[in-house]
Amino acid sequence: MSERAGEVAVMRCHDCHARFLSRPGRCPRCGDRDVAEDHIPARATVIAATELTVPPEGVPAPHPLVLLEGEEGVRILATMEGPLPPIGSVVEFSRIGDAFWVSGPAKVIVATSAVGADR
């Protein structure tokens, strides 16, 4: 799947319009098979963040885990280097292989999109 700069490839369900990260199988919300490639900005809000003091074997401690909520309510679990960003801050992220990484605070946003799920 192609990824343009500043964007992350996701899947979009034609039936329920959910956007979700690429994964095998059907739409995780409604189970429909009619899904297509789409993109969302590689920018999201930090909704939770923690550091693991006991990561899996071979991973240095402390190991950050950040839960992000992006456009259309797509949620991303990411790791990063350095101190955790504040909850509610907007960050940029990218995909490296199978893993998502927070790269840093988002640059100034010119326009915001209105739609967002409140959970």
């Binding site: 979700f20 990260l21 839960l67």
Partner: protein, 380 residues
Amino acid sequence: MPAHIVAAVPGKVGRRSGSLVDLLTEVGDQALEAVGRRRVDTLIVGSMAAGLLGGVENLVPNLTDRLHLESANGLRVEAASASGAAAFHAGVTEILAGNAERVLVLAGEKMTGRSTPQVSRALALSLAPSEQAVHATLPGLAALVAQRYLSRYHVPSEAIDAVTVQMRHSAQGNPNAQFPTPVSADEIASSRPIALPLRLLHCAAISDGAAAVVLERGEGPACVLGLGQGLDALALVDRAELTSFKATRTAAQNAYEHAHLTRKEIAFGEVHDAFAPFALQSLEDLGLCGAGEAGRWFLEGRTRPEGRFPVNPSGGILGRGHPVGASGLLQIAEVARQLRGEAGSLSLPQRPSTGMAQSIGGLGAQVFVTILGNPPGGAR
């Protein structure tokens, strides 16, 4: 014809010498003695990581050998940290399907033979590939869920500490518990961070242990009244909600319907407190109180043995320990003993006529709910 529990043996939990097969044999022997070594038709064994952590596979023949169960059939069941409950559900099905008159259900885990990072890696195999790709662990994801839950419902951190305080207090009366000593809220709040807001004393320990239950066709004080199972998306980010486990809600609804009971008719429960906030969420997801209210229940003492709805009178996972594949069956064994009047120093002030057990697999992708109690007719 219904199925009922005729023997329930929660084994000693902690750092145990002996192999996984030794631990399972120990409780299996006790259970078989309790039923006079009568013929067992089926053996069901639950364990999550028998190979990776316990160093053994092919559990059924290992056990039919050690327990001298000639001519029994058997199956191994795995459902991550709910393996013990899943094994029980499979055992009940054998009776209800007419395949067996008597079933021995065993569940166990041997974890202390490996280092903590090795155990963490083994447990993380329950997680979604996308979660493993960022080296997530169960405590790490539980911490993120806890942050969302605490924030959404404005639950004070004292409510989470109160869970551990109660569990450790109750565990004092449990001769099989790994942690039969009280801890104060201060000690909990200052214990080592694991993944904030979760600290060491909010999290299940690494434990060895096993449990055994014998099921028979028939009636008694510990009949199987209802079973329920629920599933949700494997990856946390794929779920519709973060602050409630849909799998618990589904499993509970199924179990209540199967039992023809409402939540109000359940006298007490053993819920899956592998992480202290999960106890709060579980009470809510089981429909026992409203969203965000469980913290108040713990802080106000409603969940104590003498309270309105006793929760985990055995000490729960936090007090008893967490041999992961065994915990679901340990819970069921404790509920059965209360119903049968065999709970000894853990006995509730009044002998209950119904009880429930809720077991979470992994991070809540699969949950099992079990309702036990006096037969529907009332007579024993």
